[in-house]
Symmetry: C3
Subunit: 246 residues, 3 copies
């Protein structure tokens, strides 16, 4: 039976954790800079990726830019969440921020045509946060995710700036056959859109126009003009309880 390098999961986990620490803490960066490079080269070599050294240098040179964009994300979190007490809390204890951080790092590798490593990084953070952002997604500035468990953002999604997304939201595909894998399968979300909990938006040709609000639990497979409010009328019955719910 074929052997798979599954224990690389552990290596990628430690690498991704250290990379996150180094990005936000200069002491960690100094202490683990060498480890990060060595481990990156080890991983790329195990994954038969040529040119690991050049990819690392190029990736490393983008880190300060990634850090700047993440600082903007953190400010968006601070502004949007009434429960946040200070900016430090965002960096230390917000799973949405953690997930966006690893997404921005994995996306930088994905753009350099590295594939399995960023997917392993995205699954590492999916495992911790329940937030599943494919490294191929394109996400603009000041992105805010609240709570986050259950969020799915597909590979060819495009999210512009100042977008807010709540737990359980799916930006997904209508099931397509394998030969359509390289087409745009996931929606586009324009500037300043808010998508409330458990809304599902499906399809590669769908555009949610800017400044729109998508209500909770809404199921959308059509485009929405800018400045729309999309809601989902639930009719609930409140009555005296007798026996059970069936």
């Amino acid at each position: 039976m074929k052997s798979y390098n599954v224990c690389l999961k552990d290596t990628v986990k430690k690498f991704t954790k250290r990379l996150f620490y180094a990005l936000f803490d200069s002491e960690q960066e100094e202490a683990y800079g060498e480890y990060l490079e060595k481990t990156f080269l080890k991983i790329t070599s195990k994954l038969d990726i040529d040119n690991g050294k050049a990819i690392w240098e190029s990736f490393k040179s983008e880190l300060p830019e990634i850090r700047k964009i993440l600082d903007l994300d953190a400010i968006a979190f601070e502004n949007n969440d009434p429960a946040s007490h200070c900016l430090d809390e965002i960096y230390m204890a917000y799973p949405g921020f953690h997930a966006i951080s690893i997404y921005r790092l994995s996306h930088a590798l994905y753009k350099r045509d590295v594939y399995i490593l960023p997917r392993m990084m995205s699954e590492y953070i999916h495992g911790i946060t329940g937030i599943d952002i494919h490294p191929g997604a394109t996400i603009g500035e000041s992105f805010y995710i609240d709570h986050g468990t259950g969020i799915v953002i597909g590979e060819s999604s495009i999210i512009k700036s100042n977008v807010k997304i709540y737990q359980g939201v799916t930006l997904g595909g209508i099931q397509v056959s394998k030969d359509l894998a390289s087409t745009k399968r996931h929606p586009t979300i324009d500037d300043n859109v808010t998508i409330y909990a458990n809304a599902t938006i499906l399809g590669g040709d769908i555009v949610i126009g800017k400044d729109s609000i998508i209500g909770a639990n809404v199921w959308i497979t059509q485009s929405v003009p800018e400045n729309s409010l999309v809601t989902y009328q639930t009719e609930i019955k409140i009555r005296p309880k007798k026996n059970g719910i069936r």
Copy 2:
């Protein structure tokens, strides 16, 4: 660029794990008592919290009381879940019980005006269980959570005794501006209420009356009198399949 103490995540993770072990296993308590105190003081010092020693002593003196309340929670689990085989299984393998344990510990610190540390503890267990209980929530005795993935319980929620909550339930806020952060933003759930999977209850002035049952997928932004049954009529169509789901 500013450095953040992000690698404290690791320290808090180990601390919280050891604290949970010590709470339920006297051998662990003996073996790690000193470690727990030392690590608590290290964390509070890194977070610029004054008075770490006094907070630790006071927190430590509450642990036997927390343990007693958790033993009541465990009994509620054993009574409510037909799949549980014995009480040991609750302590060893129930994510809902694990999440409630860390919530009760983090809440004890939150009450002592420690803030970022309990939030990091709640994110540690959110990461493991998918259950996001803010340390500020107020939760009564004999609380039962089944499965749990996707549950969100906001900071100012009040949950009384004998409440049962299933996976995906949100006790959340209607979005408010930052200056309303200190008002009650999340609902109150009275005694003996059951809330089935994926129900969403939003708003700080909402009260779910005692002995009520909230059906799955219900979306509520109004109060409900005691002894109510709230359901959500889904109309499904069953028909012979032709092609696809769109």
Copy 3:
């Protein structure tokens, strides 16, 4: 106060991880074979399970068969997901495959009347993936799970071959009293059924007939004939935005 062996969680976590690695990587199998046996015996001894050695030998002899079935699952993943780039990626970075692997291993122990250990294994992988498959469930060949966060598959569920399940799907029970714990409480899903995101199917006497498609968000407490399409008509309102969503 009674002590519980809660720190066994850590031992089971390492054991389960190493078992997964050994199953797919012959080098790991060689390096950790002895560790796996020793740790299994330690765990079963702590859990007061008689006959640990005989259970281990019998379990070990089933591993090549489990590996073969998992290789079929991996092929189902590769065929079903347009986003997958190669078979390696399934083994390295798919949480659904990871969860099915640990399920098949835990189920083999459950069949041998070991109970708490497989439940701890299932909670270990539930913690990583958000996918909660009870070790008692019966699942056929070529099972496919996409994304997976929030999936719940109850103890007495029966899933036949070539079934596909998306994130947030529940195969659950109608609440029953504790004395009905040993009856079939969860549904049966026949061959070639697809169940889209967040659908909920409840009840032990429910059968979803073969070749059926269950649409997203559908809530089912009745059986469905084979070759059905079950959908859930959501009516959304799209209108110009004024103020807020209430």
